[in-house]
Symmetry: C2
Subunit: 497 residues, 2 copies
């Protein structure tokens, strides 16, 4: 190989204060893991010496702890975009020590190309293979890698032997031209391949190769429980009813599913439901449940942006690549999350809400309206453009002290217009074709926990009028009461006049 | 002609209580005007006799008074979707006497085809011509006409001689197939023609022709004033700077512009700015200013869903159809407002906010969070998918008693992620790549009226923490204060703890 082999520390020493980096990866899958650990040490040294050292960076979505965790603990982040899910980073950005700008994941690549965001100086990419003429084969995710590889002047490769070179061919790398000469993205079914299996760069831009063999830092999701399983069964039951009513084609439609334990429970229940035929997945994160369903024959094909799998599930694929190669495809996030494709394919989109309100608006990001949890991720790309957009949530949290369904969401990520069906463990609210007041009835009667039904019905009788009868004095009383008394059930409407 | 000629009253008598209708038109342009006047009378007769008589209906957007006004005054509306802008209808739906479900205009046609909304029994369409084999030539708008013509079992045509038959050819009628067999919508520039100049239906479905010669009921917008003109100049100045910085191509990009006097002022200022080259329009409503700019050579082509023009402007086109035919195209709203096309063409999207908040969220619809003004219209289709999404608003209303910029919008239609630039008469806030707290600085410093700057800065110092420092006790205090004291300037933060 003609590239210079360097250590992770040597690579990190190339970077300077205020530099801007673009990383490969999407979730902990496919992210570099070695250079940023050293970069965090360099930042700590600089800070100890009274010098400033911070970098700005773009990722596909969340990362492993080696990026977001290490750089947060070193207070080395100037700005960061988009999605994250790291505990230390969450502290950093909720303290506003790092500037975080969240956005719909499909938009990041084009905004970088349009020049709307600061150009990355560096691309740091994890690869399973690289050729002397600049063909980079990624590992278990794509994210924004093609775009930052093209935009950055200098590239560092983490060549990771944990990921077999035989992964080559599982990626479909396609970067659209920009307006005014953009054409259609020619994906007409989840398995359509439209690009190349590698990223092509000028080999002169590659300043060094860092060899590693580190596995992905994919954490475990909370296990399913009776509540998430019941939500899953409700989703499957609803979809089955829609098929019988002729509102979903008998051949079914591709499924997009969010991330986490509710999503795993939903997919599991769909696989178990005999009315739902084997289906295809067009999503961003391919989770363990997808691999299970594939083995059982319930999922025919999965197109995503990352293999965000537990080590056993990932190794099961790596040990059977010849079997899985024809059933999996990884794309960059402007294609996996493309509004054009979501609408054309007619995705059945299933995402999880942190909070919903009685009018059908969704908060996916902000705990009690102020603290960032993770980020909006791809939920907006999908729900807005889906054939049918479903949001799920457990009806309560913190032993009932928090109702997931409130008079007004404390932060709004997905408006009433992007939310067709709301499902909790208690039941299904079909919001299609309903006026705001009709939606309140559907949601309170079907989705709200019994201990909150009375409070929410009383809210609607505080004297407010209008098409959407919110009360400006009382709309956020659930949150204010929780902040002051630690329990939304203690909301006293007479205080909010 | 082989169809049965009937009077408007005979046509209206065919409709029954609870029937569902789909209308042609988009805004007052292209809507039927005769049958619904008679239908309102029939409803009033029935009500006087103690009988129920209500219809449900779908339109493209708002209508003339003959539909929304007449049927509202007759209390004859069971449900109504989507956009409206009629004073009597506003009363009806804010009293919740009619169920109104608002949605992104691009979605209505596919939701009707998917079976998500009640099937229309009737299509009532205004046409300038019809052939014996069922080719319907529309008038000055398309809206949802092709879809309701195909779905309804029975069709009534208002054949309107006010509109010349020579309009034929100005419409481009294309209805996409539905998932899982949908293909790309093959529009690559605003002038691309992809369909037929007429709607083809089974002539047996046409139950009667009502002949009319009624002009469109297009109302006048408020004239421009110094505030709207300054907003227009700020938009033009911003776009000129973006071109110079290389963030908008030198050939410019197609423009989508909202409806009303601010939109007219913005387009006027763009035409007057020497740095902005002649450009194309890809929008929903083609207003007077577009025709003016076209005559001056500043607009090269306009694709829209309607010619929402004053009588002199419409007649200027009708009298010069040979000249305008090559410069105008009318499409149905799932194409004029298509997310796929908006993103591919790279629209510069300019829409008006009713209210914005210091974090960059937009309320387009609800006065003080409760009363529906008009509806979300196409603003969400465009701003979410635009190359660059700009929102404009006068900084205050009601002689300063209302600030258009508040701590938290009282209703959220477009989230922080769909809003890149906010412009008032005071200046320009560029929100790209900014964290929430950075956005508050940009907006307060550049866009807020001086008499509200102190109040908004003080809001951020009420002790709240977090990534988005909202205060659940005080976030809606501007609105609550206005409701109680009639002036947001009287907000006293010490009351909201």
């Amino acid at each position: 190989m003609s590239y210079k082999k360097i250590s992770a520390e040597e690579a990190a020493r190339l970077l300077k204060d205020n530099d801007v980096i673009g990383f490969s990866g999407f979730t902990a899958a496919g992210c570099p893991k070695a250079v940023t650990i050293e970069l965090a040490k360099i930042a700590e040294e600089a800070h100890a010496a009274g010098k400033s050292f911070k970098v700005g960076y773009y990722t596909g979505a969340s990362t492993g702890d080696s990026i977001d965790g290490a750089l947060s603990r070193a207070h080395a982040i100037k700005f960061r975009s988009p999605y994250q899910s790291n505990g230390d980073m969450r502290k950093e950005l909720n303290n506003r020590d790092a500037h975080y700008f969240d956005l719909h994941l499909s938009e990041l690549q084009q905004y970088l190309r349009y020049g709307f965001l600061q150009k990355p100086d560096w691309a740091i990419l994890e690869a399973c293979d690289i050729t002397d003429d600049g063909k980079i084969y990624l590992t278990s995710a794509v994210g924004i890698a093609p775009t930052v590889a093209h935009l950055a002047d200098r590239i560092i490769i983490e060549l990771n032997k944990y990921h077999p070179k035989e992964l080559a061919g599982i990626h479909d790398i396609y970067e659209p031209a920009d307006p005014p000469v953009r054409r259609e993205i020619p994906v007409y079914k989840p398995s359509d391949r439209i690009g190349l299996p590698y990223i092509q760069v000028d080999p002169a831009k590659i300043v060094g190769i860092v060899e590693t063999d580190l596995p992905n830092e994919v954490g475990a999701f909370s296990p399913s429980d009776e509540v998430t399983n019941q939500i899953g069964r409700n989703v499957a039951e609803f979809l089955s009813r829609e098929m019988k009513a002729g509102r979903i084609p008998a051949s079914f439609l591709p499924v997009q599913s969010g991330v986490g334990n509710v999503a795993n429970a939903v997919l599991g229940a769909m696989g178990a439901n005999k009315d739902i035929p084997p289906f295809e997945i067009y999503t961003e994160v391919i989770q363990d449940s997808v691999v299970t369903l594939m083995k059982e024959g319930n999922v025919k094909f999965a197109s995503g942006c990352s293999l965000t799998l537990s080590t056993p599930a990932l190794e099961a694929i790596y040990n059977n690549l010849s079997e899985f190669r024809g059933k999996l495809l990884l794309r960059s996030q402007e294609i996996s999350n493309s509004p054009e494709i979501a609408r054309r394919l007619g995705l059945i989109s299933i995402n999880t809400a942190l909070e919903a309100d009685i009018f059908g608006n969704i908060n996916s990001t902000h705990v009690l309206g102020t603290k960032m949890m993770n980020g909006i991720g791809g939920s907006g790309d999908f729900c807005r453009n889906a054939y049918l957009s479903i949001f799920t949530a457990p009806s309560t949290a913190k032993d009932g002290k928090i109702s997931a369904i409130v008079p007004m969401v404390s932060h709004l990520d997905h408006s009433e217009h992007s939310v067709k069906i709301l499902i909790t463990e208690h039941g299904i609210a079909d919001l299609r074709g309903k006026s705001p007041i009709q939606r309140t009835e559907a949601i309170i009667n079907n989705c709200v926990d019994p201990q909150y039904k009375g409070l929410l019905k009383d809210y609607l009788n505080l004297g407010q009028k209008g098409h959407t009868p919110q009360n400006m004095a009382a709309a956020l009383a659930f949150h204010d009461t929780f902040n002051k008394k630690g329990d939304m059930r203690l909301t006293d409407w007479s205080v909010y006049k």
